[in-house]
């Protein structure tokens, strides 16, 4: 069975675990960097990116996460996870993991009262997808090899750069598992 890790330093870990299991894969809760060797793909959940980043540094995860991406193992970032993957973060001199060729802007739809649900069409994955945006970032710029998968009001909210998948919203907060299933297919393609 495909083993998918969920980075469990902070955030909506349980929901991603449920989604992965519902798609017929094994979910591994990752709290220590050594555990990364045991999984074939990694989900970076929603949460607070500043808090997750501090814990990544504290527990020396950064190099291992970069190596994971460089080895071509699929990574999927949702909301805070997308911010961690992005090569550039507006207003910050340095990115976090910085492996996905996109520029993101944090909290770009506003504060919590502006958080919303919206219907999206996600290219090749889902029509009529109910997406939950919470203090969400968006992708301001995407590199030329990045495939843009979804937009909301002309803003890019989901994209794929090779084996890296990122979205501004929270697929883990609904029981529509089409995006998780797509990510697991991405992992399967790297194994064959």
């Amino acid at each position: 069975m495909i083993k998918v890790g969920v980075l469990a330093l902070q955030g909506a870990v349980r929901e991603h675990v449920q989604a992965i299991e519902a798609c017929g894969a094994e979910a591994v809760v990752i709290k220590k960097k050594e555990q990364l060797a045991n999984v074939e793909g990694l989900v970076m959940p929603g949460g607070e990116s500043t808090a997750i980043r501090r814990l990544i540094d504290k527990y020396d995860f950064m190099d291992e996460l970069k190596k994971f991406a460089q080895a071509g193992k699929p990574m999927f970032g949702t909301c805070a996870g997308l911010i961690l993957l992005a090569r550039n973060v507006v207003g910050h001199d340095e990115p976090h993991i910085g492996v996905m060729d996109v520029t993101v802007e944090r909290n770009s739809f506003g504060r919590q009262r502006e958080s919303f649900e919206a219907n999206l069409t996600i290219s090749g994955i889902a029509e009529n997808y109910n997406a939950v945006f919470i203090r969400a970032p968006h992708i301001v710029n995407a590199g030329e090899n990045v495939e843009i998968l979804a937009k909301h009001h002309e803003r890019i909210v989901m994209a794929r750069d090779g084996n890296l998948l990122g979205c501004s919203f929270h697929p883990e907060l609904t029981d529509d598992y089409r995006i998780t299933a797509y990510f697991i297919e991405m992992i399967k393609e790297t194994i064959v």
């Binding site: 469990a8 330093l9 902070q10 955030g11 909506a12 870990v13 349980r14 929901e15 709290k31 929603g46 949460g47 607070e48 500043t50 808090a51 501090r54 814990l55 504290k58 909301c79 805070a80 944090r106 909290n107 506003g110 504060r111 919590q112 009262r113 502006e114 958080s115 919303f116 649900e117 919206a118 939950v132 945006f133 919470i134 203090r135 929270h170 907060l173 609904t174």
Partner: protein, 293 residues
């Protein structure tokens, strides 16, 4: 496109899971908290132990303090409104606060009714001591819960009592026969449909944090061990000798709450934690947990 939906309001609290929310009284403290890895800050005029010491009526913070904190950090900012104080809540919502705590730490404005929290776009967190109270607050539209504990005491005993009580009552409910649930609803003073939902889910439908008495990294880890989704730290951090170090230690102990060697390391030489109050020495009217209905 819809704002203020149940999913958006509850989802915001889901993103805080495994994290620490810290009480702050100014921009400088807010930055220390953010830097230490807090997932949110609670902007206050005074921390609970000072509210306790000052006495008198405790109200919503000066909006200028809340604004200053909102401008200082990029993490979510919460603020407290008095129980049942519709206008304080509306003012905080209008300011763009990310979460409102309808809090017993402040002097209640209404001794009969809590806010109808479904009416608001901003989500609410409320305190609870048992499943009945938890279910009533969820019924009114709270999107997040926390134990009441006994705020501003630095004594974890009440938070432990409340967390254990809620979780034990959830377990009992899950194991009940369906024909026993209505009577349980009557006994708890809880909405029947909500109890059915909790029974089905096997847990509360919203996140439940620990609050009210967390004073050390070990306290935070204890609450996680007992099933808290995360931790609020009130007076503990900025009443300690070295707030930055203390704040980092609490964050790490919350993440790795079962890594006891690590907790030992990060508990070393933290300096004096806040003094703490033995609950039995508190006069009944000084017990904040009794506020709310």
């Amino acid at each position: 496109m819809k704002t203020g939906t149940e999913r958006v309001k509850r989802g915001m609290a889901e993103m805080q899971k495994g994290g620490v929310i810290m009480d702050v009284v100014n921009a400088e403290q807010a930055k220390i908290a953010e830097e230490a890895g807090a997932v949110a800050v609670m902007a206050l005029e005074r921390v609970p132990s000072d509210i306790r010491a000052a006495g008198g009526v405790a109200r919503m913070a000066d909006p200028r303090i809340v604004e200053e904190v909102m401008n200082a950090v990029t993490i979510p900012v919460m603020a407290k409104a008095r129980i049942g104080h519709i206008v304080e809540a509306r003012v905080l919502e209008a300011m763009g606060v990310d979460y409102i705590d309808e809090s017993e730490v402040l002097t209640p404005a209404d001794e009969e009714y809590h806010l109808n929290k479904r009416d608001y776009t901003v989500p609410f967190v409320c305190g609870c001591r048992d499943l009945g109270e938890a279910a009533r607050r969820i019924g009114e539209g709270a999107s997040m819960l926390r134990t009441k504990g006994e705020p501003g005491t630095g004594n974890i005993v009440e938070a432990v009592r409340h967390m254990r009580k809620v979780n034990a009552q959830v377990r009992k409910l899950v194991n009940m026969n369906a024909d026993e649930v209505m009577t349980e609803a009557k006994l708890l003073g809880a909405p029947y449909e909500l109890l059915l939902e909790i029974k089905e889910l096997g847990r509360l439908p919203v996140v439940n944090f620990a609050a009210g008495g967390v004073a050390t990294p070990a306290d935070a880890a204890l609450m996680m061990e007992l099933g808290a989704d995360g931790v609020f730290v009130g007076s503990g951090i900025f009443k300690s000798d070295n707030p930055a170090k203390f704040a980092r230690a609490i964050v790490e102990a919350t993440t790795h709450y079962q890594d006891y060697k690590l907790i030992a390391e990060l508990s070393k030489e933290l300096g004096t934690p806040m003094k703490g109050i033995e609950i039995s020495t508190l006069a009944p009217e000084a017990r904040m947990q009794e506020r709310g209905w």
